[in-house]
């Protein structure tokens, strides 16, 4: 019994050890892998990201010059970010917010705004 006494007193006096999520949100660490974002202005449709993705989350359509990305399949392994020769993919440290239906992002390479059907 005396062994656990410091722990018991600390638990009694310190307050709850859990956070009141979603009112209190922990700020993610700067090094964490959150989600990836595509930049249409720089993408040249070289397909290196689609060939290297282990989860097959990126697919390229050369005729219509579009890139489709499925965020629900992405495992955030960062292989596409490190492999892109034109620096068109960035890794953001915050996680995505939850979604109720799995979205598909369609990006048009070279300069147009992305259309995201929700």
């Amino acid at each position: 019994m005396p062994v656990m006494l410091p722990t018991v007193l600390r638990n009694l006096l310190d307050g709850p050890a859990t956070r009141l999520y979603p009112i209190q949100v922990r700020e993610p660490f700067q090094n964490a892998r959150g989600h990836i974002v595509f930049n249409d202005d720089k993408c040249t449709l070289c397909s290196v990201c689609a060939l290297r993705c282990p989860a097959e989350a990126i697919s390229i359509d050369k005729e219509s010059r579009t890139l489709s990305f499925h965020p629900a399949r992405c495992i955030v392994c960062e292989v596409c970010v490190l492999g892109c020769p034109s620096d068109a993919i960035t890794l953001i440290y915050k996680w995505r917010t939850p979604f109720s239906r799995k979205p598909v992002e369609v990006h048009e390479a070279r300069g147009k705004k992305p259309r995201t059907p929700m």
Binding site: V3, T7, A17, F29, N31, R52, P54, A55, I75, E78
Partner: protein
């Protein structure tokens, strides 16, 4: 006249982390026969490894198990690196050792919490997992993810530890060590815990070798055997000796894991103080040659064995995985007959079952 009943233990049971069914035949509260039924988690990972290019296999094999994920990643990468064979720098070996021991720390804290939960000691379970949160935060700050770290590539690593992170890790580890010591003292010297684990589920020395047990299950029966003695990664330069107990019962297995937890923290602190300078990745030329290679490491549950065979193309010919719980499962067939009904959860949990590793 004794009555015989057959009771299915599992596949859903509060004490099991993963699904396995044990068909137990009772004769008035004493277990007489046991038949394990597995196959609830078979995903065909060995066949899927032949579909992918060799570099994508890392992301597939990491996900064989969630708790010992780092050791799977380090072993598959090293088995593929031995096909060429590639020459690694000392810094790569030291960093892999540090992350391996960090994974062992969080796995043993998880198991100690589950052991307390198996007796109904729920508040101790929560105290251990509160300490474990600090280790998971360390993993997130250094590698990017909490559970599946994805930091190994063929030829080295993708992330580095700089001076500021090193000081932070040393500070957090010292705190984790102090808090774990006080909780372990409360658990191991408790009268109720001793009453339920001492003398329960004894595996003798000869039985342990002939059943092929590995890891803490083997070392608790008096045999000093550990794969880290082959001096892979940086273990040859660290001060390491296997921890052995001689009783062979559930209490000895718990004591081995508790002492290994403290030893893992000490090994990390020693490796951080001796970390050499150098590159974190070497260049890889060409496809995996037509060769075979074997790599074994010490996962938190025992010896992990990977066999890789290349054939000169970008896809591997064969990948074979033998996980530690696969080797410890026949020991359950010997442990359970003869024990009481209430001892079954404690016995099954004491070998640290990771069924998703067993079935891949």
């Amino acid at each position: 006249m004794a009555t015989r009943t057959v009771v299915p233990f599992g596949p859903q049971h509060p004490v099991l982390p993963e699904p396995i069914q044990l068909r137990l035949t009772y004769e008035d509260e004493k277990v007489v026969e046991v038949t394990p039924v597995i196959g609830y988690g078979h995903r065909g990972i060995e066949k899927a490894c032949e579909l992918n290019e060799y570099a994508k296999n890392i992301y597939l094999c990491e996900r064989v198990c969630g708790i010992c994920s780092y050791q799977h990643s380090a072993t598959v990468v090293e088995a593929m690196e031995r096909l060429w064979p590639l020459e690694l720098t000392p810094r790569i070996n030291y960093l892999r050792t540090i992350w391996s021991e960090m994974a062992r720390t969080h796995s043993h804290l998880l198991w100690l919490g589950l052991l307390a939960d198996a007796f109904g000691f729920e508040s101790m379970f929560m105290q251990f997992w509160r300490i474990r949160e600090k280790v998971l935060d360390l993993l997130e700050q250094t590698t990017g993810h909490r559970v599946i770290q994805s930091v190994n590539i063929v030829g080295g690593l993708r992330r580095d530890i700089d001076e500021q992170q090193k000081r932070m890790i040393v500070g957090v580890l010292a705190q984790v060590r102090k808090e774990s010591q006080s909780l372990i003292k409360a658990l191991i010297h408790d009268y109720t815990v001793k009453k339920r684990t001492v003398g329960v589920g004894i595996i003798t020395k000869e039985q342990a070798v002939s059943l092929g047990c590995v890891g803490p299950t083997l070392r608790a029966s008096g045999i000093s055997e550990d794969v880290r003695l082959t001096k892979y990664h940086a273990y040859g330069e660290l001060n390491f000796e296997p921890i052995v107990e001689s009783a062979g019962d559930c209490y000895a297995r718990a004591a081995v894991r508790a002492r290994e937890l403290i030893q893992a923290i000490d090994l990390q602190l020693e490796a951080l103080s001796k970390l050499p300078e150098g590159e974190i990745a070497v260049k890889v030329k060409g496809n995996p040659p037509a060769n075979e290679a074997v790599m074994r490491t010490e996962a938190p549950r025992g010896e992990l064995f990977y066999y890789a065979k290349g054939n000169g193309t970008r896809k591997l010919e064969r990948m074979k995985i033998r996980t530690p719980t696969y080797a410890n499962l026949p020991a359950v067939l010997v442990l359970l007959p003869g024990c009481q009904l209430a001892d079954v959860p404690v016995n099954v949990l004491s070998i640290d079952p990771c069924i998703s590793c067993t079935e891949r």
